[in-house]
Symmetry: C2
Subunit: 439 residues, 2 copies
């Protein structure tokens, strides 16, 4: 016991941390996500937590959210670390990585990346300052085949299904459909319309209509057509007919409709309603150029997206003098996981990975108990040796508190058999450590 | 192609990143380390990358190495983030975590923690600014059983053995032996002797002897005895006799010798020479109070430690008004891994996790190829569907460049069988996607 001042031991707001039984579930999620990405042949990469600031800011976006690094003891003259920042997503570092290792990668380069990212935001529900994202992208040295526009949402769909979440759906749209439609209406700057139409979730159709008229000077006819398009939804390729019936046409629109039809058709085997064509989805980021995705919890529409992504033409253009188009999706692991924790609907189990606790009856019998534990471990069972000779009741209580399903009793005297107690049933029976199987 | 300035896409010095085929091996290492920790029943926790600075500096150590965080757009008046720093090890965050969740954990609390840590150091061989550590610790609300002093090096030994590294050994010592020995010599401040004796690697026995005389005023007899002790080595409990034959005695020394004997005796089944009692090992950190560990590559003695740790009495004392003693070891994953990469002795394989590439013969045959890939995935095979209809030779070349071991040909016309090509042997034979097994 010292008399020094006690520092409050709480984690910082916006930087979540979990108890062991919650972390154990998070690990299962991470394993499942990784396994599914690998099932489709995507390889793992990791990039440093920090990048040069000019890399992070090459696209000029979200600059206000970046955490910069500085050594605590740096003197004023030493500015060498002042140009480092923590990455705020995994897309920019991936583009930098692909450009850096261009000659050592096989293209199309298919990678997944599961890492923490940091944003210097004010914490609020669903917003963290440190959180884990699970990204999957394909990048290529020439065009990226359309097949990936359908494969990526299929992979994410498979993961979200396996995680056994509250109801969700993935919305799909295509920026070429929006851009081509606006062009067909004779609007000169379609990107500006996309920027404003993207606010429909927040300000409603009426609000968007007013901005389109006041800010961009659109005619009443143009505004009406834009809002008609934004209100279209469909779960299959019949959406294409709905769009063409609005009577607008352009080359870019046709191309976008073909792509959208291909994606919807490729995913038509998935459960009804889990994939939705939603013409209001634009994804604000300027770099998307084709298919875009956005997944949400159906029951918590205001909660924000749980996965998102899209096709981009030249994200790595800041780092290398050639075009590297790509397509990607990101699963907001912490966003999803923390919501389930907050709602109290995440099911947790034991607080440790142990299958068996081996009892230490006495100091004299410790070597035999240790040998028993070693034997069980060799056979792939996660096995704790109790940490000291102690009352048996106390050792059983320890197993019970940690949720360890089996307690193993080595013989208390020579010639007696080993016994194992099933903590769920209370049943205790003789067992051989060389052959026993967990039921 | 834009005409904007190209930003150099290299990662920052001291922040390592790996190509996919190297990352794949790192992932196998991480899996093996995690699996071994869990095999002994230790649970996973993770703590935030950032802690309050007063938490990081509660022990007053390594303050010059801490990276502090600041929002890029923070105005001068807003100082709210100025008190955050990236963790420089996993021990301090673990102590903070244990104190924060004291009432929600089962003690003795046995956890592992595999995370990146950051130090604002000048990069040099074996020193990184971002690196991954794999820590395993036990912390308790009263005394920590001696059994863990033997269990932790056993676990680390098992891991280092499985990683198939160049020759290494783990040195073990006990601070009570050192402290008790110095006390028995009548030295008033044993910790100061430990601090100086710890430099024996760098300045040699003679250098240490000079400092002991000049800085602490030790007599020639005391200096000789200290150096005699520091030069003792042994691979079994016979080391205890060597120490007692130096003719020094004290209560603390006896206690330390009992503990050291217990640990060496418990580990006597491990291969000869892999565990070494080394009386020169002190581990500089002030908080160690009993058993200490330090592992090194035998062939690279100057490279620094590849694992280390020890017993501490009250690491969490800064965060909670009670004593939380513990014992832990840390494996320097990046330190080990990067050395093997640098020496060119890390064996890498394919650059992706795929077992099979399914060929897409034509756009018409794509649905059948996709269904074949889906079938193989259902059966647990990591399967890529080639990304477009293309020349067969090009598809095979893609598999070859990525190291994918099997190429699958769905029927090119109705009524023909599927075939699979073993890329290692070149052999091609009929196969059924519902039953085929990887050889």
């Amino acid at each position: 016991m010292t008399d020094q001042q006690v520092v409050r031991p709480l984690p910082i707001s916006g930087f979540p941390e979990w108890l062991p039984e919650v972390r154990l579930v998070e690990l299962q999620w991470l394993d499942l996500i990784r396994q599914t990405f690998e099932r489709y042949g995507f390889c793992s990469i990791e990039t440093p937590a920090a990048e040069a600031l000019d890399v992070l800011l090459a696209k000029g976006e979200t600059s206000q959210e970046v955490y910069t690094l500085r050594r605590l003891q740096a003197d004023a003259a030493d500015n060498s670390d002042a140009r480092l920042g923590l990455h705020f997503d995994l897309t920019v570092p991936f583009a930098r990585y692909a450009a850096a290792h261009l000659n050592d990668l096989v293209f199309p380069f298919k990678r997944y990346q599961i890492q923490r990212v940091w944003r210097g935001e004010r914490p609020q529900e669903g917003r963290y300052r440190e959180f884990t994202q699970c990204d999957i992208d394909v990048i290529n040295t020439d065009q990226v085949p359309l097949q990936f526009d359908a494969e990526l949402p299929r992979i994410v769909h498979e993961i979200l299904t396996s995680l056994n979440l509250p109801a969700w759906s993935i919305s799909i749209n295509n920026r070429k459909v929006l851009q081509g439609f606006y062009e067909g209406l004779g609007i000169s700057d379609p990107l500006e319309v996309i920027r404003i139409a993207d606010k429909i979730d927040k300000i409603g159709a009426e609000g968007v209509g007013k901005l389109l008229a006041s800010e961009l000077g659109l005619t009443t006819g143009q505004v009406t057509a834009c809002l008609d398009l934004a209100q279209l939804r469909g779960t299959d390729t019949s959406i294409i007919g709905q769009i063409t019936r609005l009577g607008v046409s352009s080359a870019v629109l046709s191309e976008g409709l073909d792509e959208l039809a291909f994606v919807l058709d490729s995913l038509s085997d998935l459960p009804a309603g889990s994939i939705v064509a939603d013409l209001s989805i634009a994804r604000g980021l300027a770099y998307y150029t084709g298919t875009v995705y956005e997944g949400k919890f159906t029951g918590w529409p205001g909660y924000g997206s749980i996965c998102s992504g899209g096709r981009y033409d030249n994200l790595a253009g800041s780092f290398v003098r050639r075009s590297l188009p790509g397509i990607g999706m990101s699963i907001g692991l912490t966003r999803i996981f923390a919501k389930l924790v907050a709602e109290g609907i995440l099911r947790t189990g034991p607080s440790c990975p142990s299958d068996v606790l081996v009892v230490v009856p006495s100091d004299q019998r410790r070597p035999q108990a240790a040998a028993t534990a070693a034997e069980l471990r060799t056979r792939g069972l996660n096995t704790e040796l109790y940490h000291q000779a102690d009352k048996i009741a106390r050792q059983i209580r320890y197993a019970s508190r940690k949720g360890i399903p089996f307690v193993w009793f080595p013989p208390f005297e020579d010639g007696k058999p080993h016994e194992v107690k099933d903590m769920a049933t209370g049943e205790q029976s003789p067992a051989d450590p060389r052959t026993w199987q967990r039921a």
